[in-house]
Symmetry: C2
Subunit: 417 residues, 2 copies
């Protein structure tokens, strides 16, 4: 169902990923996401015009669940209107927009409406009424946003699996939850625009984590990955300038492609960033350049969306230290060196090529940590990469499927030593 | 520090409780307290003018903690301004106002800012930073509200002890918390207006509950009681028309007086109401009349504040059934029979008189349930009351303190049989 940026009224749609997309996750400069409580279109416009001036082409935007749906039966028209207004302001600034619906989780804070907590505790993944309410919300957002040519689509929410810790859930229940919400989002949005979901890295690397790689790679219109260098202690383990760190987004993209059923399914590096101290500020520009360059080498990459646009102001308390310095702009609105590096990197020619050699990944949901930082498979893949091979990833169950391998351009299949 | 309704610029202040006060807890008709997210002064004015037209003289108003203080370091000026605007609208309608600061708990929902929950869990009673933040909030609200002649005062929050279940705390920690917050509220408010706190009935009747009767009766400028007929299953146990139910607010007032150190300390029946099915709708008018009449017989009563002004609209989900019908007005804004009954009752002459006979209460924090519905002391007191005696309550430790007894007008002290 995914539709590309090109205007379908005037341009053919033969190649949905012919142009790599580069954008940023929009974190409002003034008041972070609490600014929704005092939404100021002028502030949003200033931020978004800054972002567009970098040459980025899209943003991902996030509202807050308790403000959108304060009662299980109430979706606030004002909040929905503010969200659509933000989307329109972004469009006026020349940016396309993906909207994340249920937040849910943002930068270590969990935003739950009161009707899911405390005396009213409901498991947000399994309670039928809580699922129905989230479906209503996504359907409503979809309807409100539908038809905007610069709308990339509607995502269920940011890294929903961060809520697993406080809402225990099985893989089957996650699948039901995602299917229900994706259908509701599509129902609201109509045909145009993509419908997606997202998860933090435990989906890919976390043994027995209920959000599975298969759910990430097979549900929704494309696969989103959030390959953060702190996952699995990647940067601490290998060093901030290590190949493992600089090829992490590339690796995450190839890993995601392995789990897809459709060999042509795009993968979106939807979040990556340079968190201090994992990536010291001095190393951040080169990290950004390398991440973009290496990920762009992957066929099927939809694009890269940096986290995030603006540093969290230090007057706001209680964020993990790394969250204060992730912006391309500082909290006064000044461009940081990493922004310049990112701008340079996205201007380079990107020439994704097929990967002829695939390294076979043989793991189960209970052993998927082999494919994460510190895991045997991850390290083997990175050794090959350092040796100049550009390995694809192929699941063991598909290692002899000639048609599948051919569709991916894989000519050689190698089992790890 | 308590100042009466009389204007201190023109009237002497010799008798702070010479006039009984009757009011209502203000529950916005449209959108309940979620209406703060879309505050509409015209809607508030309509509600408050309806309330004033009943002949009530005050309201208690409640904001929501997550909207006031979304980050530990941020108190939203807009939210504070809206609160002061509401207070001023009430004043323009002829109503005095008590403001509750930290909600906290309202009608079964707990409103916590995200910086106290989930990955950021802090015990709101014991975490030093959480206490400091609440103190900041109360100080800020006090400053914003100070100087208004129709401001009755600033209360820490509505029934803070409803948060105990999810924030375990000891009595000593509660005392520290209340002392800190009361001092902050007073600091913000200045001299004029009362500073109080409130607790649900577990403070009076709950064995080992960390909010103690002593904290209720000795901290802050007067004692607030919330004698609900569902506490200790009072109405179910004795029947909706029983003397125990109809004298419950009176009893709660006398019980509170017993725990005070100052024999003249006023007691405010700050919440009472007619929850269905505990009080069937047909019995509600007579319950209201009896409650006002009997409580008004107590010396030292400050006043009675009904819960609540407006029924919760049934389009709002997940409230306990009884919360939908507690209003004096229905959710369309029509007066209900109970409103007429209350209006009649408050127009009656109220002639509080001393109570010559006191029944000795001998319990500890661990056995205080004897003084609640179903408890031996409660039942003995009610037997005496039914026999026509109007018993005071005196603590065992004071039963021989002649000066104290004389100050309360007690001439006879009786130990329960």
């Amino acid at each position: 169902m995914y539709r590309p940026r090109t205007d379908p009224r005037t341009e053919p749609e033969e190649d949905p990923i012919r142009t790599l997309r580069f954008g940023v996750n929009y974190t409002p400069r003034r008041g972070w996401f609490h600014s929704w409580q005092d939404f100021d279109p002028a502030h949003a416009r200033e931020d978004l015009e800054q972002i567009a001036a970098l040459g980025l082409d899209h943003v991902r935007v996030f509202h807050l669940w308790p403000l959108l749906q304060p009662n299980r039966n109430v979706i606030r028209p004002t909040a929905v209107d503010q969200l659509t207004r933000l989307v329109d302001i972004a469009g006026e600034a020349g940016l396309d927009v993906l909207v994340d619906g249920v937040q849910g989780h943002l930068s270590s804070f969990d935003f739950y409406p009161e009707w899911t907590r405390s005396w009213h505790h409901r498991n947000v993944f399994t309670d039928p009424d809580a699922i129905a309410a989230q479906a209503d919300l996504l359907r409503t957002l979809g309807r409100a946003l539908a038809g905007r040519p610069h709308l990339l689509g509607l995502q269920l929410g940011n890294e929903l699996n961060n809520l697993v810790e406080h809402n225990p859930v099985t893989p089957a229940e996650v699948d039901h939850y995602l299917d229900t919400l994706l259908a509701a989002a599509r129902d609201g949005l109509g045909e145009r625009g993509m419908v997606t979901h997202s998860a933090y890295d435990a989906a890919w690397y976390g043994d027995d984590h209920p959000f599975t790689p298969e759910a990430s790679a097979r549900k929704g219109d494309l696969t989103t990955v959030h390959p953060w260098v702190f996952s699995g202690d990647c940067a601490r383990r290998y060093g901030p300038r290590s190949p493992q760190v600089r090829h992490l987004a590339e690796y995450g993209t190839e890993l995601a492609k392995a789990y897809a059923e459709d060999p042509a399914r795009p993968v979106w590096v939807q979040e990556t960033g340079a968190p201090e101290p994992h990536i010291p500020a001095a190393d951040a520009p080169e990290f950004a350049r390398a991440t973009v360059r290496n990920a762009s080498d992957c066929e099927g990459l939809w694009g890269v969306t940096w986290w995030c646009s603006h540093d969290v102001d230090r007057s706001l308390a209680d964020f993990p230290e790394l969250e204060y310095t992730l912006g391309l702009f500082d909290s006064a609105g000044r461009r940081k060196p990493i922004a310049e590096a990112l701008v340079e990197a996205i201007k380079e020619p990107h020439t994704p090529r097929p990967r002829a050699t695939a390294l076979v990944l043989d793991c189960t949901p209970a052993t998927r940590s082999v494919s994460g930082p510190g895991g045997e498979y991850f390290e083997e893949w990175m050794r090959w990469r350092a040796d100049g091979v550009r390995p694809a990833v192929v699941l063991a169950e598909r290692a002899r499927d000639e048609g599948y391998l051919a569709a991916r351009g894989i000519k050689e299949v190698v089992r790890p030593s």
